[in-house]
């Protein structure tokens, strides 16, 4: 072909048409053949899901008084890149919220888009800050868990974390019920999840508010139980102390106190040791209060009655070990003791004789049936099963020591549950802390049935044991637990405190305890008081029994119970176990 200007323009034209065709083919590929692929990608990246938190359910006591509830709060955050006057903003925030100004300044100095200033501020503070109309400071609705009674029952109720998740106690155990189901919103948003002006908001699922739980606790009983326990423990300068009030016929926990206490609204400022619920997790050697169960087992096996007489020496040697009484015998005192007297005076040698008459298999059978060595199944987190070995691991001496409460580890909840079985006439019970759950509109959703495995002891056995315990309070070691006008049954205990490593005992450290019931017949309450490492006087009769009496007297007033016997002046001098 002849080279000419026309030819060259033609070639350039072909080149451009070729380039434009390439563009068109590529566009057709992307927009026609790959349209679905990219349309889905576009939709996916623009669709944002927003979770709507449900309102957490309330924890009530047995009379529908709130123990834990959820309040509206506000959370403050900043977009540091938008804040114009860092100094003024930080000053106002720190003044209203009472937080460190330098900390706020540090947050505002960062080059990012988001920083928390403070979570869960009160509505008052929110309204105050709102008035300043600070640029780059944002608020959104949040929830705050409030424990209206603060320190009351905080070991049982527990507490929640910053995102309202249950962390301990009932808040943890019943988290799945309390928290509810979060709802979901779908909307179109930009990469920072800001909703597009053009986008509607569609509700994917509505949030379902959490259910509330009705506990077995009675706020009033809980209050004075804690009051007297704390007063008693402080007076005794004890390391810790626990008290449980149980309805023996149902197993309902009416009060559960654990000293020292902490404030659930401010749980962060307390140690784990304080926050744990010692009533269900701490294992201790019960000492003499355990003797009642040895007696119960022997009577149930028809080996003795409360009136069976033993000639009890002052000491007894078993497998080269001498077992002695804690206190010497008075001058002219007869060695002939009934089973009831052995309990009343808390005689170790006498109890050992009863236990050896019974044999370890039967002792183990009954103690095991009473729940020692097993979880009671109370609906609280962190329960311990204690230390109760099977008989094949027992040394020869163990039958003696276990019979009077040494060489066995139990929890306060096990102790109070076993005593309740005696009080209720021999029926197995499972301790109960939650009665039922209710929906937000008050509908009962699920009851927690009182459960029983049936009768464990004969009614007559239990009656004898109760009578022996009443005698103990009337004229034995438990006189400081007497209440005017009522039959009170109980048993004191003073055990050496086992070392934390489990080998040997801590010198001079005791656990003083008292377990008892009242009134009789038809006991309404079983109360256990344990005081850990009191200083000065340390006997159960001196430290724990008075606390029991204070709680019991208050219960009489609270329930307005009629006296069951003529009012007599209590015996003047208390005996010690």
């Amino acid at each position: 072909m002849k080279d000419s200007s026309k030819l060259r323009y033609g070639i350039i034209n072909i080149l451009i048409v070729f380039a434009i065709s390439a563009l068109m083919l590529r566009l057709i590929y992307l927009q026609v053949f790959k349209h679905n692929f990219y349309a889905i990608k576009s939709k996916k990246q623009v669709e944002k899901i927003l979770k709507i938190p449900p309102t957490r359910g309330t924890v009530y006591d047995r009379h529908n008084r709130p123990l834990a509830l959820t309040h509206l709060a506000y959370s403050v955050n900043a977009n540091p890149s938008e804040v114009t006057n860092n100094m003024r903003t930080a000053t106002i925030l720190s003044e209203v919220l009472g937080i460190d100004k330098d900390k706020i300044l540090k947050k505002l100095a960062k080059e990012n888009q988001f920083a928390w200033i403070e979570r869960k501020i009160s509505e008052d503070n929110y309204l105050k800050l709102k008035e300043y109309d600070l640029i780059g400071i944002y608020f959104f609705k949040d929830e705050i868990r409030v424990y209206p009674n603060g320190i009351l029952a905080s070991d049982i109720i527990g507490f929640t974390g910053i995102d309202n998740q249950g962390l301990s106690g009932l808040e943890y155990k019943y988290d799945h019920i309390l928290k509810g189901q979060e709802g979901k919103l779908i909307f179109h948003g930009d990469p920072r999840r800001n909703r597009l002006i053009t986008s509607p908001v569609r509700v994917l699922t509505q949030p379902e508010d959490g259910q509330s739980i009705i506990t077995t606790l009675d706020t009033t009983i809980q209050f004075f139980t804690e009051k007297y326990l704390c007063e008693g423990a402080e007076k005794a300068r004890a390391e810790s102390a626990q008290a449980i009030v149980m309805d023996p016929s149902t197993g309902d926990i009416l009060a559960m106190a654990d000293y020292p206490k902490f404030n659930a609204n401010d749980w962060n400022n307390s140690s784990i040791k304080v926050r744990k619920n010692s009533c269900i997790s701490d294992v201790f050697e019960p000492g003499s209060i355990f003797k009642v169960f040895t007696m119960a087992a022997a009577i149930e096996e028809n080996l003795v009655t409360s009136r069976t007489v033993f000639v009890v020496p002052e000491s007894i040697t078993l497998y080269n070990k001498t077992i002695k009484e804690a206190h010497g015998r008075g001058p002219g005192e007869s060695p002939r003791k009934t089973v009831s007297e052995i309990l009343e005076h808390s005689l170790n040698v006498g109890t050992t004789m009863i236990a050896t008459r019974m044999g370890k298999a039967q002792l183990y059978k009954h103690l095991h049936a009473l729940g020692f060595g097993s979880l009671t199944g109370i609906e609280l987190p962190g329960e311990s099963r204690g230390l109760f070995r099977e008989t094949k691991y027992w040394s020869g001496l163990d039958i003696a020591t276990i019979s009077f409460g040494q060489g066995i580890g139990i929890t306060p909840i096990q102790m109070v549950t076993a005593t309740s079985i005696i009080a209720n006439g021999g029926h197995h019970i499972k301790p109960r802390i939650v009665q039922y759950t209710i929906s937000k509109d008050g509908k009962t959703l699920k009851g927690v049935p009182q459960s029983s495995k049936g009768r464990l002891f004969k009614e007559s056995t239990m009656k004898q044991v109760r009578q022996m315990m009443i005698s103990t309070v009337d004229k034995g070691t438990g006189v400081s637990a007497q209440i005017k006008g009522f039959n009170v049954g109980g048993k004191t205990g003073t055990a050496q405190k086992a070392k934390e490593n489990g080998i040997g005992y801590e010198h001079g450290k005791y656990i003083a305890s008292f377990v008892g019931f009242f009134p009789d017949p038809n006991p309404k309450a079983v109360i256990l008081v344990t005081v850990n490492a009191p200083q000065g006087v340390y006997y159960g009769s001196q430290v724990a029994a008075p606390i029991f009496r204070q709680i019991a007297e208050e219960l009489v007033r609270h329930w307005n119970i009629d006296p069951t016997r003529p009012i007599v002046t209590p015996t003047a001098s208390a005996q010690v176990d």
Binding site: S5, I12, L23, Q31, K43, H188, P191, L196
Partner: protein, 385 residues
């Protein structure tokens, strides 16, 4: 000499593209305006100002005799080269994202934009001053022409600015081609140019990264390939008919620069294949009319000027579209008449004005019969013979 009216089809193509640009700026920029400047009309207001300035620039270019540029061609060219060289001077040259393309002399600008115009004008003067026999010879044609190109392109490659190097180099070679530089030399030059460009890419990590992204964008869709993948999502999700005006989702901060270099992606998302094709058609129309205006010029200066400016406008568009649809590695070249582009937009309007100015020229009507008479042009006869 009597003038004919300006080429109305070329003007309509320009108006069409500007209209698409205005519609797209209205549709896309309020979000970014609100986000970045707390003013939804930030970009719209500025685009309107630039449009008015562009119309003024166009009117001036239509009225201003083309002789004016011819007179100042050498000065303009030398000034451009000096400014290009100055980007190398620390303190004057401003480096952004690894490329030293800007010059700060009180105001900040890219000297490349000045070079683009004056190299075409100077090429026109150079070629029109040479006889055909001279142009056919290596020493008097190819070599001096190459020198005109090579000096500024040396600095351009140093910045580096591969996009504009290829654009300016490509247009210059096409102008050499129109001016009858022999085929053999042109082919050798194009081959050499491709080789040089390849070496330059391999030597420069910044460019290598872009080319890697171009070759396999799905290797890192959230990292270095984020931009181009978002562009694909915008284009692909538009389909044949588009999401509808104002319905873009990607413009909400997903696709960066959606109002500037990547505006074509939003054209595709909102307007679909239909609007995309219309845009490309208008570029083709502009090319066709622009080259026809060039072709009929008897003066090689005017022919070179018209063709060079037309190719600049069209190839910028083609390269920009090629980049955003993934046919070319991403370069910083805006979409002519459509991107929110400040001075580049005004300059493009000015170029269109110059082309329209040339379209008024009627000299070809008078010289045509003479050109057919061999006696009137002894020189041409001799050479063609």
């Amino acid at each position: 000499m009597k003038k004919q009216p300006v080429d109305i089809v070329f003007l309509l193509a320009v108006i069409g593209l500007i209209s698409i640009g205005i519609i797209m700026i209205f549709s896309t920029s309020p979000t970014i305006g609100l986000m970045s400047y707390k003013d939804g009309y930030y970009f719209i207001k500025r685009h309107m100002i630039f449009t008015i300035l562009g119309i003024i620039a166009m009117a001036v270019a239509i009225k201003l005799p083309t002789k004016f540029y011819k007179k100042w061609a050498l000065h303009g060219y030398i000034l451009s080269v000096i400014l290009m060289a100055m980007t190398m001077i620390p303190g004057l040259g401003v480096s952004i994202a690894g490329a030293r393309r800007w010059l700060n002399l009180g105001i900040q600008f890219q000297p490349t934009e000045i070079l683009k115009f004056w190299i075409i004008v100077y090429a026109g003067v150079f070629f029109s001053n040479k006889k055909l026999s001279q142009l056919k010879k290596f020493k008097s044609g190819f070599l001096p022409a190459m020198l005109i190109l090579a000096i500024p392109v040396f600095f351009l490659a140093q910045q580096p600015d591969l996009g504009n190097t290829v654009l300016i180099g490509g247009i210059f070679i096409l102008l050499m081609y129109i001016n009858m530089i022999p085929h053999k030399q042109i082919i050798t030059l194009v081959g050499g140019g491709i080789g040089m460009a390849t070496l330059s890419i391999l030597a420069n990590p910044y460019q290598l990264k872009r080319v890697k992204t171009f070759l396999s964008p799905w290797d890192d869709p959230l990292g270095i390939s984020y931009h181009i993948i978002q562009s694909f999502i915008a284009i692909g999700s538009g389909g044949i008919f588009g999401q509808g005006l104002g319905e873009s989702k990607l413009k909400y901060a997903y696709l960066p620069l959606h109002y500037a270099d990547f505006i074509f992606s939003i054209v595709c998302e909102e307007g679909g294949l239909i609007f995309a094709s219309l845009t490309i058609f208008l570029f083709w129309l502009m090319f066709k009319r622009g080259m026809e205006i060039a072709k009929r010029q008897t003066d090689m200066y005017l022919q070179t000027l018209a063709a060079g400016l037309t190719l600049t406008l069209v190839l910028q568009g083609v390269i920009n579209i090629g980049c955003v649809i993934g046919l070319l590695p991403v370069t910083g070249i805006p979409l002519t008449f459509i991107s929110f582009g400040g001075t580049a937009f005004v300059v493009s309007m000015f170029y269109a004005g110059v082309i329209l100015n040339i379209s008024q020229n009627t000299s070809y009507l008078h010289t045509k019969p003479e050109a057919e008479a061999p006696i009137a042009h002894p020189l041409h006869r001799g050479l063609h013979g």
